[in-house]
């Protein structure tokens, strides 16, 4: 794997938002899920998004993922203004630039683990033989190769999340967006997943934006914490204990 390409350009901006807003109109009232957030995330950085429930973390992540369009303001990823992209281009962006991991795994129950993992490759129209090798390789990396023929329902929560991680990474995205990836897991399996994510961040130089409401987790793994409240950015903290990306490859 290429382990150095991303980590060199730490100062390069991967994601920048400018006064981004996402308002939901529910009849008379307007819910300001994201309300004027401006932030900058460098390439290769590991950022944690923190905030209480309903503070707009998921809404912001969806905007970064190109799953949702902002009501106003801009999201610029690797120099591309997402709001200017067509639906087709956004799909391409989601397929190739970002990888998503969800709290609830979101694996497709009717497919085997391997099929779930290779699904993005089908959309990318990768040849079948190459797809199989890539999927097995990705499962190998998350330690699930032996279970590739199982259905998601036959796996434990931790295993399902590892499969979801393998799927998110199969197209080698530069950015990993994770929405509470350990939320449904006990602390031991949660640590397992977090170690994997850190591995990708440090070895592949992948930019990671992780939503969590566990401050402990954020302090342990992230380099920077961004605090949201009522859709607004309220605080930012550099985590002192965390090493600079790429410098520490050893796991605790």
């Amino acid at each position: 794997m290429n382990s150095s390409s991303g980590s060199v350009g730490t100062e390069r901006t991967a994601i920048r938002t400018h006064e981004v807003r996402r308002h939901y109109t529910m009849g008379q009232s307007v819910i300001r899920a994201v309300d004027g957030v401006s932030l900058e995330i460098a390439a290769g950085e590991f950022v944690a998004l923190l905030g209480s429930s309903g503070s707009g973390k998921s809404s912001l992540l969806n905007l970064l993922a190109g799953l949702d369009r902002p009501t106003s303001g801009g999201v610029i990823v690797q120099g591309r203004e997402l709001s200017k992209l067509s639906r087709e281009e956004l799909a391409h962006y989601r397929l190739h630039v970002v990888g998503m991991v969800f709290q609830s795994f979101n694996l497709i129950g009717s497919m085997t683990v391997a099929e779930n993992v290779e699904l993005p490759l089908r959309f990318a129209e990768v040849e079948r033989s190459r797809r199989d090798t890539l999927a097995l390789e990705a499962l190998e990396r998350v330690g699930l190769r032996a279970r590739h023929d199982h259905r998601p329902s036959e796996l434990s929560g931790g295993e399902q999340q590892r499969a979801a991680l393998a799927r998110a990474l199969i197209n080698r995205p530069q950015i990993l967006l994770a929405d509470e990836p350990t939320g449904n897991l006990d602390s031991r399996t949660g640590t397992e997943i977090m170690n994997l994510i850190r591995e990708f961040n440090q070895q592949l130089g992948m930019t990671v934006v992780m939503v969590t409401h566990e401050r402990v987790l954020a302090e342990k793994y992230a380099q920077r914490m961004i605090f949201l409240a009522d859709g607004k950015l309220v605080d930012e903290q550099i985590v002192a204990s965390a090493a600079a990306p790429g410098l520490e490859g050893r796991q605790p």
């Binding site: 969806n62 993922a65 799953l67 949702d68 639906r87 087709e88 799909a91 391409h92 989601r94 397929l95 190739h96 990888g99 998503m100 969800f102 979101n106 694996l107 497709i108 009717s110 497919m111 699904l119 993005p120 089908r122 959309f123 990318a124 129209e125 079948r128 799927r167 998110a168 197209n171």
Partner: protein
């Protein structure tokens, strides 16, 4: 996404809710089956009708008559065509010319007359007609007893079953179909004597009456020929197993002679009166000529060529044109009724796919979140609709085919009880099989249009929130 992937995913999704999708597919197949059954019936009936007509040997035949004979029908004639008096005579030269027209197999004169035949000293008045040697291969002589004429000049006769029955004193009124030609094979090799009137060229007598009177009086004018009574012995060589009631052109007679023999006898024919009266030469003229065409498709062009020569031409195509129109309308109606069931089935597809979207909302959201484009989702639903269409189409054709054969089988049992011959009125041509499957495919794609569009437009964030 590529087609093999789409197909694979679509079939997998269909298997996931196998009961609902099977029911929908069965709905399509019932629709296709009803369409196939209806159209097969229409096509089968049409083929049955044309089979009966084709057997008559008239399908590839143009009957040519002289315009002079039809002078009294002048009002029906097109004014642009040559006036009857300028029309050429239907003689040997004209026959040879017709035989050399493109796509013509042969042109032979129709010789047909009513005369007396004596068998075992009993007279029988009947219609005699001449057959060219080419008739040997005609379907009309299928299942005959004995054999065809040994040569075109042989002193031989072939009898029709009903006339054979008459000769043997059997009651032919009560259903001749209960007899087989072979039942009369005892007649084969026996002699029969034909008495006939022979016309002979005589000294020309100055014509006193005008032509018009001749036509109207239908009288033998005291002119160019005399009539002599003759006898001819014939050996019975064959009994034809024909239905005497059906229209069969040259085979309409009850006793058949070889053409060469018939020509050499110079038998007086009813139409000779007018022909001779207006003819300036002593050359025999024909009342009508049958022109056989290589292929029924070329009948029309040959017919037109003959009309250009100045003769009247008639073919069974003219008579069947309205019949074919009738079948076209019948097929259309049967097709519409058949399609109605398919239309109902297509609503089933819409329903199933809309249900599937509701059920698989989350799955669609996941696919979009990991990079599926609107087009990918749309194509996936189209593929599911199309797969149901093709599967339903194939099952439907099989079902329709089975239904048709069961009905045909049942009808034939009924026909057998009524002592009628079995009929094959059911036909599923290959093009119908292909067209029915293709039609089911297209109908299901059209039905998938709305659900696929709806699935494609689904907002991924909303879809993922849906539990």
């Amino acid at each position: 996404m590529k087609l093999p992937d789409l197909t694979e995913l679509a079939l997998r999704n269909l298997r996931e809710s196998v009961l609902r999708n099977s029911l929908t597919t069965i709905g399509i197949s019932v629709g296709v089956a009803s369409l196939v059954a209806m159209l097969s019936l229409g096509i089968g009936l049409q083929q049955l009708a044309s089979r009966h007509l084709e057997k008559s040997g008239l399908f590839d035949t143009v009957i040519v008559t002289s315009r002079r004979d039809l002078r009294h029908n002048g009002r029906e004639q097109n004014n642009s065509e040559p006036a009857p008096s300028e029309s050429p005579t239907l003689d040997e030269a004209a026959r040879a010319k017709m035989e050399h027209l493109p796509n013509v197999l042969e042109a032979y004169p129709d010789i047909r007359f009513i005369t007396e035949l004596r068998f075992e000293d009993k007279p029988h008045l009947t219609m005699v007609s001449a057959l060219p040697e080419s008739m040997k291969n005609n379907d009309a002589f299928e299942g005959m007893a004995g054999q065809f004429f040994t040569s075109t000049n042989a002193d031989e006769a072939i009898l029709q079953k009903s006339f054979a029955a008459e000769l043997m004193g059997k009651d032919s009124k009560r259903g001749i179909d209960q007899y087989k030609a072979a039942d009369f094979s005892s007649l084969l090799g026996k002699q029969i004597t034909m008495r006939y009137a022979q016309r002979q060229a005589g000294a020309p007598v100055p014509e006193t009456q005008d032509e018009k009177d001749v036509d109207e009086l239908m009288d033998v004018p005291a002119t160019a020929y005399s009539v002599v009574s003759r006898e001819q012995k014939l050996t019975i060589v064959g009994i034809a197993d024909l239905d005497p009631e059906s229209m069969r052109g040259p085979t309409r007679g009850k006793v058949f002679l070889p053409l060469g023999l018939a020509e050499s006898l110079h038998v007086m024919q009813p139409t000779d009166l007018r022909a001779i009266a207006s003819s300036s030469s002593n050359q025999p003229t024909y009342s009508s000529i049958s022109v056989r065409v290589k292929d029924p498709k070329q009948v029309e062009s040959v017919e037109n060529a003959i009309k250009k020569m100045g003769f009247n031409a008639f073919s069974i195509l003219d008579a069947t044109r309205s019949l074919r129109q009738f079948f076209a309308v019948l097929d259309l109606f049967l097709g519409i009724f058949g399609s109605l069931a398919l239309a109902v089935a297509s609503i089933g597809i819409v329903n199933t796919l809309v249900m599937a979207i509701l059920e698989r909302r989350r799955e669609i959201g996941i696919m979009k979140a990991i990079g599926a484009s609107d087009g990918d989702v749309r194509k996936l639903f189209f593929a599911e609709a199309g797969a149901m269409g093709i599967l339903g189409g194939i099952a439907g054709v099989a079902l329709g085919w089975t239904i048709g054969h069961v009905i045909n089988f049942g009808t034939n049992i009924y026909l057998k009880r009524q002592a009628l011959p079995p009929e094959h009125f059911w036909a599923v041509p290959w093009w119908l099989v292909g067209a029915a499957v293709a039609f089911a495919f297209v109908v299901s794609l059209v039905s998938g249009l709305y659900p696929a569009g709806r699935a494609a437009r689904l907002d991924p964030v909303q879809a993922l929130r849906y539990e």
